[in-house]
Amino acid sequence: MENLIALLIAAPLLGAAVLLCGGRRLDAVGHWLGTLLAAVSFGLGVALFADMLGRSADNRAVHKHLFSWVPVEGFQADVGFQLDQLSMTFVLLITGVGTLIHIYSIGYMEHDENRRRFFGYLNLFLAAMLLLVLADNYLLLYVGWEGVGLASYLLIGFWQHKPSAATAAKKAFLVNRVGDMGLSIAIMVMFTTWGSFAFSTVFNQVGETGWGRNTTVGLMLLLAACGKSAQVPLQSWLGDAMEGPTPVSALIHAATMVTAGVYLITRSGAIFNQVQDVQTVVVIVGAVTLLFGAIVGCAKDDIKKALAGSTMSQIGYMILATGLGPIGYAFAIMHLVTHGFFKAGLFLGAGSVMHGMNDEVDMRKYGGLRKYMPVTFVTFGLGYLAIIGFPGLSGFWSKDKIIEAAFAKGGTEGWILGAVTLLGAAITAYYMTRVMLMTFFGEKRWNEEETHPHESPGTMTIPMIVLAFGSVLAGGLFSINESFVKWLEPVTSFSHGDSPVSAGVVTASTIVVLLIGVGLAWAQYGRKPVPVVAPRGSLLTRAARRDLLQDDFNHVVLVRGGEHLTRSLVYVDHTLVDGVVNGTAAGFGGLSGRLRKLQNGFARSYAVSMFGGAAVLIAATLLMRAV
């Protein structure tokens, strides 16, 4: 069975190679080939999953050493795979949601003349992401990490004829690069400290290593996670990444790639568990991003950007949970999976709405669409209920557990984190209700002569229906007998924290804040008609529309700062460095100009200098003798 692991990655990789090198003659079948190979990968994933379930909990992880990549004395880089419960969860999520989104893209990209290239990139993404989660060492993980970054860049800029898309792609690439630097530094420190990149070697030795090394590695891994998962302070790229086609936003920038940071921290749990301080930083990053994304999501009128703010916020929940240590890892991954379902479903729904509305993204120009797009309405609505944590649906189970775990952190920290997560839940309910009301309820606010809203074709609605089932059922299924936690326990370990408040109280307060959020949104957007032109809004609203001034901050601090730094360096170069060089040259020039005067051509003056020299020599000799 282990041999199938390599095939899992090879199938989409083959698809990418064929589709990207095949040229125009594959245009007619390219999308079917891409979808088929994604489905093959999913089939293999299911087969491996069935095989894994057949074994007892302690024997489920399998390793497959494929070949030695760089076999040099003292530097052993291997290509090897590790398929344990954590990887398996990701494989099923990536290939499953990936296949659905391939199917959806067949309809969504139907009129795009570069559809074959699009599917090539999607397959490339699947291969890279699978490599990332299946690698058994950090160096191979890094290859996958860069691969998904590349695929993300290519797909954000897929419509590169639009300057905004090209800029967004570049922005995503550059911001991710900062995070990637963190990962590469972490890997270098690992190699100098433990002499290996392999998970097994690193995690076995991590307990005997000093505080400094572990902290460095932990912080650098966190930096990497911040870049890939759009966490503060490297969050600025995700909103702009919505320039890419909507299936890309659903697959890469909601369900899978942006969760790579959560995977990285969970996988490196052995390191993070050693350093409490770094875990505190992780928790702070998660808590700040959770509120940051939620506030941004409240103010955006662009449906995709509102969802992007929501994604950032939900990943903030996951990062926060991973920072809690063994209390939180399993719940972070559980929320990741349920979020993968409902957020992908929401994005696909948004794409379906845009498909029927001439690619209009401004929610102020929607309104009353539930009658025109019944399937989209129902699936989007189920995703909506799941994300706000409506009792019984996916988000309820996973988010509730994270809030409980936050309280269980204990002490003042626990109370603060619990309050933040509860506040986040209220804001989530608010902004998602706002999206729902502005899009599907209220008055029609579009121009009836130009726009004819219609339901999307079957290739688009079927994936939405499947994902809606996932949004409804996944959380409940995972929570029966804590099956998901027990499934992951051999990898992530698990401990029940001592919560100062009982689970019932947490659940009750979650429902209360949920109702408050929904009620506020209804009072603002349901009871009153939504203005077509956005009102000026409060200072906070205006700041949130500008992504809480993240770009202005980056511009002032990083761009301006960088410009000033380079200018001052140029100044130093011109004055100091060039000054020393040119000054030396000028000094020697002037000196030789003066010495040249001695060469006047008169034999008698040469004779004088000879006599003078001889006289000096004799005088010196006599003087030395006298002394």
């Binding site: 006047n600 008169f602 034999a603 008698r604």
Partner: protein
């Protein structure tokens, strides 16, 4: 007679020669002053030979004469050709070798 007096004479001759080389412009006179300096040295060598009671100084005096003879040949040839090309024997006129 005290040999030191010959040394005084030698120093006097050398000084006259040196002053001539530095002051006079005529190449022939400068040349003769150089010869005067050489012979002042010869005199000093011979006196020292006498004072120390060995022949080293006298032998070196012969060497000096040989060198002076060779130098006369080359020097006079240069002066003659200089005079032919410039119609002057002034050392200050031949000042083209400069930067």
């Amino acid at each position: 007679m005290n040999p030191v007096n010959y040394l005084y004479l030698s120093a006097l001759l050398f000084t006259i020669g040196a002053a001539g080389v530095l002051i006079r412009r005529n190449a022939i006179v400068v040349f003769m002053c150089v010869e005067l300096m050489l012979n002042a040295c010869n005199l000093a060598f011979v006196v020292f030979s006498r004072m120390h009671g060995n022949l080293d100084g006298q032998i070196i005096a012969f060497f000096t004469m040989v060198v002076a003879a060779a130098e006369v040949v080359v020097g006079l040839a240069i002066i003659v050709s200089l005079f032919r090309s410039r119609h002057s024997a002034s050392v200050d006129d031949a000042s083209l070798m400069k930067l």
